[in-house]
Subunit: 318 residues, 2 copies
Amino acid sequence: MTVTADVCVLGAGLIGGSLMRALGPGRTFGWNRSAAGAEAATAAGFAVTTDLTATLRRARQDDALVVVAVPLPALDTVLDAVAEHAPDVALTDVISVKGPVLDAARRRGLAARFVGGHPMAGTAHSGWDATDPDLFRGATWLVAADDHTDPDTWTRVAGLALDTGARILSATSTDHDAAVARISHLGHVLAEALALSGARGGDLALALAAGSFRDGTRVAATAPDLVRAICEPNRDALLEVLDECLADLGAARSALAERGTLGALVERGHHARRAYDLAQTDRADGRGEPLEVTPGADGWLEELRAAGAAGREVRPVG
Amino acid sequence: MTVTADVCVLGAGLIGGSLMRALGPGRTFGWNRSAAGAEAATAAGFAVTTDLTATLRRARQDDALVVVAVPLPALDTVLDAVAEHAPDVALTDVISVKGPVLDAARRRGLAARFVGGHPMAGTAHSGWDATDPDLFRGATWLVAADDHTDPDTWTRVAGLALDTGARILSATSTDHDAAVARISHLGHVLAEALALSGARGGDLALALAAGSFRDGTRVAATAPDLVRAICEPNRDALLEVLDECLADLGAARSALAERGTLGALVERGHHARRAYDLAQTDRADGRGEPLEVTPGADGWLEELRAAGAAGREVRPVG
């Protein structure tokens, strides 16, 4: 039996390259902007070229699922090429914000077979050398459940995620973006602010810094361009969360100045962290079987969204 | 040769108990408020009782170095007993804020032989069961260099720190408190705010949370009472740092709203985190030999403070 190369990956960096390695060279082919990245992938046995047009023509001919795995600033260029050379392929992406990608696909008439995705996995490193076939194992892969989603494409994207060892959560692009502003983008902003505060204390402060400073500033080690490419496209959701956070911190500041206590913030923050720990424990214990959903059946998108709102994994059946 | 029990530890919790275990039962004796903690220490072979008066009388008789290792809220009670039963012993502490402890010692006429200390080590756990004889190995132990410091006591406190495997940094209590507001207390406040923001996103957000949220909220898992006991006594320094941080975050918020960029904060935060990484690397590589200082020699306190401001380890000689 010959395995069909049914997945076309555009961008062989950390996420795209890891996806190719997770699925193997028999199922994947792709494109990379830089010749160095394409050569590294080729040397590892993968069919990766720097010819975007040829790659998209092959995808169209083979009806491959096209995975856009470039950083957001490169999205427009890549989607223009998709619209020109493979306008009717099944299309997904692995970019960390979903609303702007959906809008970009719609603007080019590509929405009918587009289903956004976001694997919640990564490292501070980038490029083919950082790829890892097990990067997605046990990770959560968000598969979007927007209005008018094509059931067949959703099923293919979900199958892709499952084949990497990920678990699937589903939500609208809007709800995804609001959630990641909270659990990822705000964390980037606070880590930068904490690092800056520490360094302002000079060599004494940095010499006294221990584990809590190291962990609290870890994501500030990420390259600034990458942090901005992750956070800035989610501006509206991040602004809302930043305003809430500034209000929380301002209230704590006032309570400390006026009454000598950080009370409410500390109690609520601890309670919140416990909720996170419980969610992780439930997940590790495998409590809550995945909800099985039949793509295309009556109310399937509502089922997906309700499961996502409850933090429950889903699986396509039927 | 008989080893003299020259260290009296008041409070056999995580820090005090680990100190006893690092030095061994031959060199230490102590007191613990709760009978359960005293019994656990006794079962492990340490002379720990619940009789504070008797413990302090023994310390006075043996000229032991008394180490106050109780949480700050219990400090007044313990120092009252020291002033009553052992007013002339050599005295130090391991509490995470130094100015308020120095003030409390001064108010009781205990300042002549008091030298504050702060080992930068800990875990989210507490009590004898969490103790670890290697807790301080490689950690930084701040030994205060305040005006009118008694050289003999400073030397004994420094020797205690070195005997646990720690490295010594020195600074005034005021400079210590300003530094830890930056690299510890602000981190607690931001971790609570990040946890709260995540939980506000409900089960979807918590299910999408990955490594950066886990690390960024780690210290929010610490018991709220402990977080408050660590941060609130350092109110003035923490307020100053919180105000700087609120200004940084407010500027980033404005830049994002008006120009769609987090630029300056991300660049500066990344630069700051690199400065921290470099400081850690220098330390791990052993660059910068400890500065040898002769306690009591002309200008010795200024030497200690200058080394501390440069993040440089010190060692007593002579």
